[in-house]
């Protein structure tokens, strides 16, 4: 009796923690959604039951039905982040290395960063066609801004006194780059790449929903067009899970490689 009461009170205490409230909220949403879905109380076609959505999700996870689309989207997002890093990091280092360049370039980048990148998609269609490359280009340009801006932020954090000391003791430019600049900016660069990945996923998949032949974004619109709403929700859930896993994996990897990137983890709010 006493043990049961203790168990109940410890369960209640657990519910009164942030994790408990989060779990309760998510459970509440699932229960309400399931009730609406099963009873057809509200927009019967728009709220399929959770079990129906999970069945579709299970099919995506256990059969090769989505493989060609995952491949297309992975190619676009992977290519986008590589291109963004190849251009964004060196340019960020170049712009951030001299105050006079930074003063000219930074406002231009900040203004350009506000423009929704998806609107440049028609230009990429003209140049690259409707195949995967135009989406890759949208993803790359979306990821370029966080990568370059955070590299600039990293360069700004490098203390001038360290560089002066290194020069005084006769360090070569290569040694200064390797031993001072690289460790100092690594954290910000990794954070930029991680946030850039999110931007690339959004940019490329959103472009797929506009015009495409394959890809996860393309399938969302296909299901929407065929009014297969449960399949569409399942695919959205599938994309969110993949995006969260990729983000978590990058966070752990970069946190392991550079402890500084752990501190700047919330910079994503600003891109």
């Amino acid at each position: 009796m006493i043990k049961a009461r203790q168990n109940t009170s410890s369960f209640t205490a657990q519910l009164q923690t942030p994790l408990g409230v989060q779990a309760l909220t998510l459970l509440g949403i699932v229960v309400v959604w399931e009730c609406i879905g099963r009873t057809g109380l509200l927009f019967p076609d728009l709220f399929p039951s959770i079990t129906e959505i999970l069945q579709s999700l299970w099919i995506y996870l256990t059969t090769p039905v989505m493989i060609p689309h995952i491949k297309a989207s992975l190619y676009e997002v992977g290519g986008a982040i590589i291109i963004a890093a190849l251009f964004g990091v060196p340019l960020g280092i170049l712009w951030g290395s001299k105050q006079s360049w930074l003063e000219i370039v930074e406002p231009l980048i900040l203004y350009a960063a506000v423009v929704p990148k998806i609107v440049i998609f028609p230009v990429f269609i003209l140049f690259l066609g409707i195949d995967v490359h135009s989406k890759l280009a949208v993803g790359a340009i979306a990821a370029f801004f966080p990568v370059s801006l955070l590299t600039i932020a990293g360069m700004r954090e490098v203390k001038k006194v360290y560089v002066d000391v290194a020069r005084t003791i006769g360090a070569t430019p290569l040694q200064i780059a390797k031993n001072i600049y690289l460790p100092a900016i690594a954290g910000q660069v990794f954070t930029g790449i991680r946030i850039g990945l999110g931007a690339a996923v959004t940019g490329a998949l959103l472009a797929e929903t506009k015009i495409a032949k394959a890809g996860l974004g393309f399938m969302i619109v296909e299901y929407y067009g065929q009014f297969r709403i449960a399949d569409m929700y399942a695919l959205l859930l599938f994309i969110f899970i993949i995006a969260a896993l990729a983000n978590g994996a990058m966070k752990s990897l970069f946190g392991f490689l550079s402890p500084v990137s752990r501190r700047s983890g919330e910079a994503g709010m600003y891109f």
Binding site: D45, V119, Y224, A244
Partner: protein
């Protein structure tokens, strides 16, 4: 020449230099005009659309959508942020959920909103409001949380009522941080509205760009793109001006 004028001249020099290269390349036929329109042609087409076409009406629709999103995000965002600050456990729990929602590619769920609200501006407003709502909630909660307790103690020692405390101490203390959230919200709303108008082909300027793209009207595509970029830049400029005026 002052330092800021010199920097502005440099920036304009870079922009006009790049545009001049594009103009020359297209006019000389080095780049086919099927792919790239001469900047002067794009500006002329944009002007014609503004003067005689329906570009002005479409800009009005986009501005209305942005204003509606901002109004929804501000009212509900400030209320929710205040609520999350008042109830600490709920605040701590939901802040994480909101941050997770914000960093996920929610915009891909736009077909859900098209199904619910139809292919209308309401769908754009409903989804874009979410992008404005989250920064305002988080900044409002943070603003109340970070009010200097000394200010509250001073208020209490002066025997201020709850209402006076709220009006004369809390509001002035939280306003700058809430404004930062408002600035962030406006940026996200702008991006979301223009992006959604383009992909879903509804509403204003974004829809015009999408239409031009489907018709392969190259000059119109670049005119629409130029208009969209100018609108975004104008918005950011105005926000920056407001912020510097507000912080003075």
């Amino acid at each position: 020449m002052s330092e800021s004028t010199r920097l502005a001249a440099w920036r304009l020099g870079w922009i006009f230099g790049a545009l001049l290269i594009v103009e020359t390349s297209v006019r000389a036929g080095w780049i086919s005009s099927f792919f790239l329109a001469a900047p002067t042609r794009a500006v002329i087409v944009l002007w014609q659309q503004l003067a005689h076409g329906n570009a002005l009406v479409l800009t009005g629709i986009t501005l209305f959508e942005i204003a509606a999103c901002l109004a929804i995000a501000t009212v509900f965002g400030i209320l929710a942020g205040f609520f999350l600050w008042r109830y600490k456990l709920i605040g701590t729990s939901y802040e994480t959920l909101l941050a997770a929602l914000f960093s996920s590619p929610v915009i891909l769920a736009y077909p859900m909103f098209l199904v619910t609200f139809g292919r209308t501006s309401a769908a754009v407003i409903a989804l874009s409001s979410i992008f404005g709502l989250i920064p305002i909630i988080i900044n409002t909660k943070g603003a109340f949380q970070n009010v200097n307790p000394i200010l509250l103690q001073v208020g209490a020692s002066m025997n201020l009522t709850r209402k006076q405390m709220f009006r004369h101490i809390l509001i002035p203390a939280v306003a700058p941080t809430i404004f930062s959230g408002f600035r962030l919200a406006l940026t996200y709303i702008l991006k979301s509205v223009l992006g959604l108008e383009y992909v879903a082909q509804v509403g204003g300027v974004g829809m015009w760009l999408s239409d031009a793209s489907y018709k392969f009207e190259v000059e119109e595509v670049y005119a629409g793109l130029f208009g969209t970029i100018m609108l975004s830049i104008l918005f950011l400029y105005l926000i920056n001006r407001c912020e510097s005026w507000f912080r003075r």
